[in-house]
């Protein structure tokens, strides 16, 4: 009879031990599942987040619409050239030359857009380059800064005397005249001036939307020295 309580205690200890091991096993199992599920999620979401993807889709839609417009324009040009009418080729070439002259900043242009005025001290060429890129991304078709025509390829450089455009110093305040879709450019200008006003170097940053911005400054065509047509 004295052996009974000893056996009962042993059983209780064994049951407790098994319980602890079972729970430990469960913990290990759940922890493994948890870690693996997190790894799976990370793997599937690698790269771009859904918000960026949504923006990308929006950009691609807009880009594809522009490409469709370009295709339609080129099909029209091809049709004119194929028509065989007298002077058709001359007309296509003259229109193309006028369009390219405006794009390359070789002629004065006008149209709807915005005028941004930034008064600041200490802004650098990088700041101006960023502003110009933002406007280009907003659909700018022609840009002038303090009566200097600017487009991609025109050197905007930092010198000891300040920011230069094509070798000429542009002292603040900067008046940036931009032609393009006034609504779209207005949004860009609004965001830009808000950000600039938060910059300690900037005294004032304002913009106005105008129905007809006139840009009279022009660039001089530079012949190629190194490049050869393929």
């Amino acid at each position: 009879m004295p052996a009974r309580p000893k056996t009962g205690r042993r059983r209780t200890i064994r049951v407790r031990g098994i319980s602890v091991w079972l729970i430990a096993l469960l913990v290990a199992l759940v922890a493994t599942v948890q870690i693996r599920s997190q790894a799976e999620v990370e793997r599937s979401l690698i790269g771009t987040d859904p918000t960026s993807l949504a923006f990308l889709i929006d950009d691609l839609h807009r880009a594809n619409e522009s490409l469709d417009a370009e295709k339609a324009d080129l099909v029209k040009q091809r049709g004119q050239l194929q028509s065989g009418q007298a002077g058709a080729a001359d007309q296509v070439l003259t229109d193309e030359a006028n369009r390219l002259r405006a794009i390359e900043g070789l002629t004065p242009v006008h149209g709807p857009g915005v005028v941004i005025v930034i008064d600041a001290s200490g802004l650098t060429a990088l700041d101006l380059q960023d502003a110009l890129n933002n406007l280009a991304a907003g659909g700018a078709e022609a840009v002038d800064v303090n009566d200097r025509r600017v487009l991609m390829g025109v050197p905007v450089y930092q010198t000891g005397g300040g920011v230069t455009i094509d070798g000429a110093v542009v002292a603040p305040p900067w008046t940036i005249s931009v032609i393009g879709d006034a609504n779209r450019l207005g949004l860009v200008a609004d965001l830009m001036t808000q950000q600039l006003r938060a910059d300690r170097r900037v005294r004032t940053a304002t913009y106005r939307v105008e129905s007809d911005v006139v840009i009279r400054s022009v660039l001089t065509e530079k012949p190629f020295v190194y490049a050869v047509a393929s």
Binding site: I13, I23, V30, S37, A69, L100, I103, N133, Y226
Partner: protein, 240 residues
Amino acid sequence: MSSRNLASTALLAVVALATGFVLAGQVKAQLLTPSNQVARYQALIRSVQELEATNADSRRQIASLRGQIDTLESQAAAQSAATQALRNEVADLRAHAGLSAMHGPGVAVSLRNGVAGPDAGAQTGYLVNFEDVQDVVNLLFAQGAEGIAVSGRRITPLSAFSGSAGQVVIDQGPPLSSPITVVAVGDRNRMQAALDDPSAIPGIRARQVQFRIHLTFEGSPDISLPAYDSSLQITHASPT
């Protein structure tokens, strides 16, 4: 209750508590990532892929149409000296706008992602971004580059750079990501000297140190640039 019993009860309580926490974590993780959320993400990816395919197809068509127009213009120019003069003028303007392929001496710059820092979740500084590409392109133009292409995409007078972390969008093209190659035709000695200058492109230089972003370049006696294959329309600006 003996001290042994007390210890095993306490151990059981701790293990049960840990189980509860882990179970709660698991349930929460599953609630955050239901399968329909993953499906929605995959649908977004598919949309991007379809739009990119349409984009590439449109650009091929544009390149083909420009080729056909060039042939028709050439035929018309063969019949009239005035048309030929006009065509030469347009050819020159097209070359400056990036609408025709070119070659010549130049440099090829390669930009590659660096290494993520320990708190990489919050920082994307190790990724090549559109501002890096913009800075390199601006530097090369400032040093007299006569034409530039970024990973096969020709830069035009109206080109713009945009994108999010690690993605670079140029004009109407699909996003580019590391490695990105910037190829420029022009005075290669001048461009190489500028790229060698430690004070140039400060944003990239700082991240070269912090995140080991790669910027390498090589001069070449003959580099080719493709023609621009996207839209170059202006619909608001008119000659005065």
